[in-house]
Symmetry: D2
Subunit: 437 residues, 4 copies
């Protein structure tokens, strides 16, 4: 169980200003204690196995306000930083961190760090932004991040220097894999220096690929925005004889957006995701399957995740973005040209439409459900940080908010299980073969 | 564990036409066996308690396709019936039941029962509708139900007569509490008659108040549609000096829609739900709290669930609708008049706007996430029914689809725990006092 | 032609800072001169009649920037006031007046008058708001009015006193009939006092009933928002046996919103508007027509404008709102009860759903087309006011922006011509009889 | 005036089944006679010039139902064909032509021609579709065209052969420039053959570039759909240091969509359209202007019409699509690379996001206002065709529906007047210089 323990800066001794109590059933929320834990695995078999072998099952610390807090609000300063690509809900998180710190705990000095980790480095010359309730009250209406973002890391030492110099005690880092790794390094550095500062992460990945977590904010908005785009791409396909619409969606390493978008708008005939192997040519290959579909129905709709089919780029060089993410070769355009080439080669008339709505999706404002989720994540990050916890992220596990050590989530990506329920639903909905190769 | 066992008409002996296998990791989904079960409670404490006292924990049968099915598709007929009030996603369920029966299992005779349980009673004179993939392919784009609906029960004997006379083997009942009770009675009657027929329920309640289930389809769409309405009601409130907007939302016995809608659009100052007690008058009463808000900010937004504040209707008679649901007195209009009366009585100028968007919400098409959810529920209902299971409903528990005996979900309503996380989030977001009385 | 002449405070002598020129075809806009005029009537017959009798046709002064302006921007202050009910686009108008004054002409002191004409009266104690580009840059994203509004007039003398005391030179009044009458009185009073101040009106009426003008801002958004509500109300109607949906839309004296909303969503069977007479009972009455529809199709959708059927309230007292508008009796609820009563009386089973989305519609943000329109009206108001014109409003006539004397538009309401094209289109689309009485 | 006369197959002698009358003011629409005409030019100056020189002004025949019709509905067959690229509203036109023919006039045989003009050519092997009210009643909910479309012309003789062989009397052609030219040729051929058939066009161009007409259906929906995409692209730009968003919108020869979309979402800083000349380099060139913007505000939003800046492709070959439209080189990607190149060359850090939402826009369903417009165009086309008119299109002129000879609209494209009101509004809204070269 050790690997899921949360580090703390020190044991809280200050009574929480939330004024809750320990009374059950009085209509007043009860403080959460550190020993309330949530099981990771909910299958009866795993429970029985744990019981039979007396192996305690894996569990996570439940998130929520603690009775004693570590930081004295009057003397506490906070900073919020947003990194990496846009994702619906970032402004909701910022807003709720500010509101939570200000109204729940009375922390009044809250700094917005501009343009990601860069903003901590003086030489970039970016000015901090003072974040107040007045400043943030309407920002949930907008996509993007009011703080600006950037990719890539910065010197951990230089960032820690700024944090110490500016007397920042709470750092809220909103970002993906790379950002969280950076956050952990900053947190470790601060601990080592004996700085009076903690680091809390709010995982941001539109791809829904945070390890262990059932959901990341922005992901649902993503396939919700993609939904009518697919509906209309279907109309494009039907509007031409043997019309083919190819929609490229986000999903560098995991195909969750593609899978869910296709499930939500059941006009899709093929979903191609990074987790699956497929061939283009051959009797069972994708192109033959596509031709069969056209023979039968005269139109087809294909959803392809950006990271799918990387095996098709043999010999091509791999590039990385500033955050160190491998930049995949563009499967969308490749697929388009391969489809075109194939049907030309067999003298089969088709019309191909290619759609790449990525920026439209990631810059959209959060939908209602993601707004709630982003807001609740933010509140729980505030509760954890005020209690002195550090190097943790907030997430959802089996319907409950919990604290995860950053190390458990930032090392591995969540992927679609090709043997699992979700993918089977996709195959049932599309009618595509289990295997195309 | 007995209470969560699913009844079956007979053990399946026909190999499933799905052609899945038992191989793990081959990218082909593996049949689900009846002994795969999901824990209900995921707290570590409950695990330890169960272990210490050797009490097996409560668990539910995992949903999914079985290796052997009970019904021979060639000789099987199905019927779909939709009852009660509208809810986003009903057409998605209908569509996916039809597609699942037709394409997965090869069941070709699928009848749509018009106007709810009435449609089973010949004297109403409604004609059955033949449901084919061609007929249902676009219906997910529309709110409502293409089959029509009605409230209230019908003679169980007469319905069973029709089912037997028409050689219907699979009955899919989409409806709420009352509908599911009716479905259980039909199922029991058919079992007793020795009819070759099973009954599967797909729980429909926009209020999200199905016992044990973490989510019902249509509920998320409901607060998603309410979200911009609240945003604009906020503009109405701000548009007048001491402007007050009161938005009545659905929620007869449970305030989930009101709570989630308010959380999703953080401009709401007060949420009133059926689960809570509150007083209007008095130093700590709602009206005083409202006045305090106006003193400070010159406008206020109130979300009230339709079933809230029933204690305010002392002496008024209770009425029931055709389904036997208690018809609550209209809290929205009462609240409006009480607010008006109060501020007039103290010579305090206010402008009140009252919004009741109920029909706009319930007749909307499902959003992307509900579309997926409705579709997957339908597929799992098909798998269960084809395997010969009866008197069951499909639902989600800790992120997994499971089969629940109808009896476990139709007797009690899920409610918001006033001591719990969700309600605490609402109080944090709105700033409203824990108790107003 | 005299009646359409615009009053001016004085002939402009200051070269416009816009730096346009008089060169045609150089890709630089050319100043508009006062003698550019637009014909009101575009029928060839009217031309021939005018020609034969040497009667000059009616025409209006074209709106746009003048080469010489009257006010010296450095010494000019402006005020913006919004009155009456909400309407989509008010914030767009405010934003564009501010941007136009600030960036085109360099007027830097712009005051927002809070809560309508009240804001001019010191005893109400409202503080002016300083309007800058920074302050207004995002407000077009929101419905409502950031300035607040109120109904009803105030003392013209007291308002003029404030205007003089505060050295306000340009007053932009955004409002309906009553507001424009008030604006004209203020303008007249200022002229009489010899004040260095002009009054420009931007007509606001969601009902599209401004005399002479082909369109008012917010109106198109209104029926655009109503469109899916009607679609879903249709689903409600189809969801029940003999289901009837009644949707009440805005339209106190003119049925434009009801007519256009019904035309835009061709599932409506009856449209009832203030302009038409109809009876409920009788062989040709509305109720009989409704029954015929149900006999044939088992459901019906009715759109009713709030001011329709006032003859049905014989004997009921007329009330007025604070703006002096006659408050109509609620036709929606009356209709609902009459329909219910009638079908009960003949033992005919129906289910009635009643929707009143008024506040949802009027508080919505402007759609794209209204955003453009609101913005262009605002710019033209700024051009006119800077040129010293007063007691005018801006509007569209035959596709061109023009200046209208307030007196020509504020005395009479535009109505749907029951003999005209638009109404005929409604009858064609719905299939409703020409006359129901 | 001759050039605007409409050809007729023969003078109508059959009383219209619409049963209207000639009584004014009876609440029943009055038949329109051929001598009701609408002026093209509405300026007073043009009127005076016409009058002084006794030159009758240009005018168009008013659209609407005629008292006598030419075709006997019982013996009349109609065909509908849709050609060219998708455009919001095509299904609304199809629906309203069918409803108008069926319900107004009683024409029961209505054929849908599949995949554009191809559908008339037997060798393609496409089957006609029977269009009935039941078949088309819900199609307005969907983008695209239920008939399918294709580009390019077919043999006029072969098409006329099919028309004669199938006894088709009314041909409704929905398409752009090329389609209308084709329609005119078919119409001429049919006239020459003495066939009992007329051709009516409903102009379709999302670009709004039909000569003489103030509006084409789908155009407003186009910029309405582009509106939030631009809003979110603005968030993308703000989300990065010196972030630049480039949005490519449709507009092959005319920049109406780009101009209107930018006006409707006033966060755009530069609009580049086909009508304007601009240079990239140089002190006054676009790149310098862009750098100035970034220096001041750290982000920029650029909207570029697909046909803009063709002078930048010197030496590149011109290609044509199957309809004969010149295929422009892709200015969007060129601009992106030029911007990137420039800022790299001066060592100025920027982040560029490129959005091309074309297919998302053109396949969207029509918004409310376009739905009305498409429907009314269709009704007027039906009225005209039934009256025996041929080789005409329906359009709007100064707020009135009129009939235009195809020849007057298909030879020249409407363009934005760079000296005119609309473009000036764009420059005012964006703050971009009049000239960038």
């Amino acid at each position: 169980m050790g690997t899921f323990d949360i580090q703390i800066l020190g044991i809280g001794s200050i009574p929480s200003p939330l004024n809750l109590n320990e009374v059950q059933g009085d209509q007043v929320f009860t403080y959460v204690s550190d020993d309330q834990r949530i099981l990771l695995d909910t299958s009866l078999k795993r429970y029985q196995k744990a019981k039979d072998h007396d192996e305690p099952p894996l569990s996570l610390e439940r998130a929520g306000p603690r009775e004693k807090i570590y930081f004295n609000p009057d003397e506490t300063s906070a900073a919020i930083v947003t990194c990496g690509g846009l994702c619906p809900g970032v402004n909701n998180v910022i807003r709720s961190v500010v509101m939570g710190l200000h109204y729940f705990y009375g922390v009044k000095r809250i700094l917005g760090i501009p343009y990601g980790y860069e903003g901590f480095i003086p030489s970039f010359g970016h000015d901090f932004v003072d974040l107040t309730p007045e400043h943030v009250k309407d920002i949930h209406e907008f996509g993007g991040t009011i703080l600006g973002s950037s990719r890539g890391g910065q010197s951990v030492e230089a960032m820690a220097d700024t944090i110490e110099r500016e007397n920042i005690n709470l750092i809220f880092a909103i970002g993906g894999d790379g950002t969280l790794k950076g956050a952990r390094e900053i947190g470790a550095e601060l601990l080592q220096r004996g700085a009076n500062a903690v680091v809390a992460g709010i995982p941001k990945t539109i791809d829904n690929d945070i390890n262990l977590m059932e959901r990341s904010f922005g992901y649902e908005t993503a396939f919700n925005v993609a939904n009518p785009i697919i509906r209309d791409a279907h109309n494009e396909a039907r509007g031409a004889y043997n019309g083919i619409s190819i929609i490229k969606l986000m999903g560098r390493d995991s195909g969750f957006i593609a899978a869910s978008a296709a499930l939500s708008m059941p006009v899709v005939n093929f979903v191609l995701i990074p987790e699956m192997d497929f061939s283009l040519r051959g009797d069972q290959g994708f192109l033959q399957c596509l031709k069969d579909r056209l023979d039968n129905r005269k139109h087809a709709v294909i959803v392809v995740a950006e990271g799918a089919g990387q095996n098709l780029f043999e010999g091509a060089e791999k590039q990385k973005d500033a955050s160190g993410n491998v930049l995949h070769n563009d499967i969308g355009l490749l697929l388009k040209s391969k489809v075109d080439e194939y049907f030309k080669s067999i003298g089969y008339r088709v019309t191909i439409k290619y759609l790449d709505p990525s920026y439209i999706i990631r810059s959209a404002p959060a939908n209602a459900n993601d707004s709630i989720f982003a807001s609740r994540l933010a509140h729980h990050a505030v509760h954890g940080a005020m209690a002195g916890k550090t190097n943790f992220v907030v997430g959802l596990i089996n319907g409950r908010f919990a604290y995860f050590p950053i190390s458990t989530v930032a090392n591995q990506r969540q992927k679609i299980d090709l043997n699992g329920d979700l993918w089977f639903s996709v195959l049932q909905s599309t009618g595509q073969p289990f295997v195309m190769k």
